[in-house]
Subunit: 358 residues, 2 copies
């Protein structure tokens, strides 16, 4: 029986994509080889690679002056590459620290450039996000780094900060589940392992003029230019991830693209928040209601014992991945793109049932 997968990533992928991948696994389209046995220089693989790139450009409405790069190492690798490529030794940039991912972007990135916290949610325990005019921005900064959704805290940036400074965004945990305001950004990045594909890669959208002018002289793999100049075929790419992502993006497009995914995500999250808000305090959301994440619904029960019982009982009903992150405890239902409303309905029923038994 198919599990209802509420994991925080890696997480559910569309079942029909998995079935297609399985069917093609030993013989990819009559080649007599698996996709993962093809040369990355072969025509068969190249068609897959360029197909994924063009579907992504269409689905995300990526403007012509942006490159799309496939780079290994996830968002963690980008914490290094962004300042290495964008920040010259004389320059400074700001980072909005709204949770653990923003903290890492700041601490890791600081090894490679002069970064300062532009805003820090520590006083509220990282339960809220700044509003459009809530970030104190130095107009001299090279860029301002934001995390559009904090997976562990369960909060999302509803409005981008108002500023003329170019933005850089880590969108790992709500990638393609909201439109990207391209004119605001020099660079957008994210690991693919939540909404888009199996783990093993980040997608980086970078303004072409930025990629072409690296701020520091570093080895090939660390330069956006290397990936941009080769359509991310400068060395052997993570072919399986790119191939599966192509199929996932096709499904996303068939189902109405980003706008429709944004709506579905809001509806899925809304259904869970409704149970929380209507539970007379049995379930409790610890975050600012104005910035509740549509991807990661974080909630508490009256005691840690009850939380453990909730997670275990849910697993018995095939509802998987509901434990909160070990750093904050509690419960968390992640509702990534491939998790269907049907699974949310099963969760909602279970939450009501569980509360009734207490």
């Amino acid at each position: 029986m198919r599990a209802h997968n509420f994991g925080a990533g890696p997480c559910a992928l569309p079942l029909d994509v998995l079935e297609e991948v399985a069917a093609e696994l030993t013989d990819f389209r009559g080649t007599g080889m698996s996709l993962i046995e093809l040369s990355h220089r072969s025509k068969d693989y190249e068609a897959v690679h360029m197909g994924t790139l063009s579907t992504l450009r269409r689905v995300a409405a990526v403007p012509d002056d942006f490159d799309i790069l496939f780079i290994q190492g996830g968002a963690t690798m980008q914490f290094a590459m962004v300042p290495i490529n964008l920040l010259a030794p004389s320059q400074r940039a700001g980072v909005v620290v709204a949770g653990s991912w923003g903290k890492k972007a700041l601490s890791d990135g600081s090894k490679h450039g002069d970064l300062v916290a532009a805003w820090d949610g520590v006083e509220t325990g990282y339960t809220t996000m700044p509003g459009a005019d809530g970030v104190d921005i130095d107009p001299e900064w090279r860029y301002l780094h934001v995390t559009t959704n904090e997976t562990i805290g369960g909060i999302r940036m509803v409005e981008l900060p108002e500023t003329d400074v170019s933005l850089v965004a880590d969108m790992s945990s709500d990638y393609l589940a909201r439109p990207i305001e391209w004119d605001r950004y020099d660079l957008v990045y994210g690991g693919v392992q939540k909404n888009l594909a199996p783990a093993g890669m980040a997608v980086v959208f970078v303004r072409k003029s930025v990629a072409a002018n690296p701020a520091n002289d570093v080895a090939s793999y660390l330069r956006y230019e290397f990936h941009a100049n080769s359509d991310s075929l400068g060395n052997t790419p993570p072919m399986f991830t790119i191939y599966v992502m192509g199929k996932v993006l096709e499904r996303l497009e068939e189902r109405g693209g980003i706008a429709a995914l944004e709506e579905r995500s809001a509806a899925k999250a809304g259904a869970v928040y409704e149970v929380i808000d209507g539970s007379d305090g049995f379930y409790r959301s610890p975050v600012d209601p104005a910035v509740r994440s549509h991807m990661n619904v974080v909630f508490r029960l009256p005691s840690e014992d009850l939380e453990a019982e909730f997670v275990a009982t849910a697993a018995d009903r095939n509802l998987i991945g509901l434990k909160g992150h070990r750093s904050v405890g509690g419960c968390r239902a992640s509702l990534y793109a491939a998790l269907e409303m049907e699974s949310v309905e099963v969760l909602v029923t279970f939450m009501n049932d569980f509360r009734a038994t207490q």
Copy 2:
């Protein structure tokens, strides 16, 4: 029909591994999820991950004072990470340049440390390797970097240079097809996409004392220490690649491990070189006979037209990937671990037949 895959990487994987992966793809061992949908923090994935690590430690006879790291970005990423982690600003290291991969290790690595060419095969067109006493080594060097097999040139390092300087080796293209003399090395690395697994990762073996003392202060992903301290689970790893590699390593172990693979590789290569040497000059090996690669058999025909005809006719007989690298032309039969002697026999027959028709 299964192709005979002579590609230079990515390349053939064991068919029974592919069949197992296909069978498990929509439901991994009763979890109701695909392996690629599991959390990397789940018990099910952890068992796979730690299993691959321990099989690898056993198969490669890795000593206790070496860490095994799974790092994304392939060998190209290691061209940066090796000097970043091993070479302090006051130190220098040497690089044996025996082909295009040694060249890249030198040019990319030079962005992050003081590297010098310790030996360069340019005068012979990169058709030979230095012998044990052929490299001029400064005993003050932090390390000497070697490439044990040059994929494009089709040559292999038969003997390691004699020196007290610690070695670092890029073994991408003969990984686990020869024993690793652990006491000679501080670090051994290689992309997995030739002998071991689908593309998307390098395996790095690094002396624990070296990993624990990075020579430069850089972001997490660029530090061996980060990967060593977390069993390569510091961020989301390339789970699918690690999972498939575990299965490939189990097969390798069942078939006698590295020693047996080394013998099989020598036998496969020997069969092709025998045709070349017995062809009265119709086929011609351009490399020094003493250092012929067991992995990549490079050969020429009397004309480029004949080479093109050879490659095309071979493809009609389901012999795939025989075109030489675009930078050198000619033909190349890569004989990686999962390519069976049966395929080599088909190639040998074809080579004899093709010659007979001319």
